[in-house]
Point group: C2
Chain length 162, copies 2
């Protein structure tokens, strides 16, 4: 049987392991640790929430999300990760996690979920498309990190010093 439950403090080990499994799946670098997850997600001011899916008592996947703010419309949820372990694909865990994320959104007064999907991940793209999600193909995802972030900082110091 499939069940979905909120991740709690004692799930930090499991969550860290699932996040690393997800990153490995994408072959993406990952620097998160159990300690950081504990402090960021399960302290006095949590920066994210997570759900764990279990199938017959085994951890089958997870969802990690946080509040988003759509300036044109108001509050929303950003779904950072939705991952189901390979051996649990087809159990309905992904859809059940996503449905519970939506329900959490409603509890917070919003009816909108934003997420990014890797376009080469055909099963994921197909999954979201089948559920009727809108694909905002006109938008590009942009990131400042490393050198480009450092350059912004330098420019701020220059402005402040003027």
């Amino acid at each position: 049987m499939l069940s979905i439950r909120p991740a709690v403090r004692s799930d930090a080990v499991l969550l860290n392991s699932l996040i690393h499994e997800f990153a490995d799946f994408y072959k993406f670098p990952v620097s998160i640790s159990e300690e950081q997850l504990l402090s960021d997600g399960f302290g006095p001011e949590p920066r994210f929430q997570a759900l764990i899916a279990e199938f017959s008592g085994q951890p089958a996947g997870y969802a990690l999300f946080f509040d988003y703010y759509a300036s044109f419309h108001g509050g929303a949820i950003f779904l950072e990760d939705l991952f189901v372990r390979t051996q649990f694909r087809g159990t309905g865990a992904g859809k059940a996690l996503l449905a519970r994320v939506a329900a959490t959104g409603v509890e917070r007064g919003c009816r909108r979920i934003m997420l990014n999907v890797l376009s080469s991940n055909d099963p994921a793209v197909g999954f979201y498309r089948k559920l009727g999600a809108g694909f905002l193909d006109d938008w590009k995802v942009v990131c400042f990190e490393g050198n480009s972030f450092g350059a912004l900082l330098t420019s701020d110091r220059a402005t402040t010093a003027d």
Copy 2:
């Protein structure tokens, strides 16, 4: 002279007006109101932060952002809006706003800014590219809202009722 300052409660009228101006620029629907911005951004638990750029005392633009959580790396900032009014383009307001967003990130312990840009907005794409931003072209922006969000909710109730 250009200056950047955090938006405060009494800026809700101005912020609402700038957001509507930004939405009009894109010709996007917008349902946000001054009342909602007051309650979401300037109450006891702000869902976003905003900066106002002023040029010679005139409002020139704004940035609206909030905390993001990159599960593979930790905290980040999501820059939802960066807008400079047409008549203030070329004053450096956009770069100064972005630099101050980066500085705010550092105060919160993170060195990463995520944002979405409309691919047809050549000046904006060029602006971010010139500043060295990474374009994550492999990613698609996906959204559940309206009917697709409602369908997720129905599916959650069905699971819970099982």
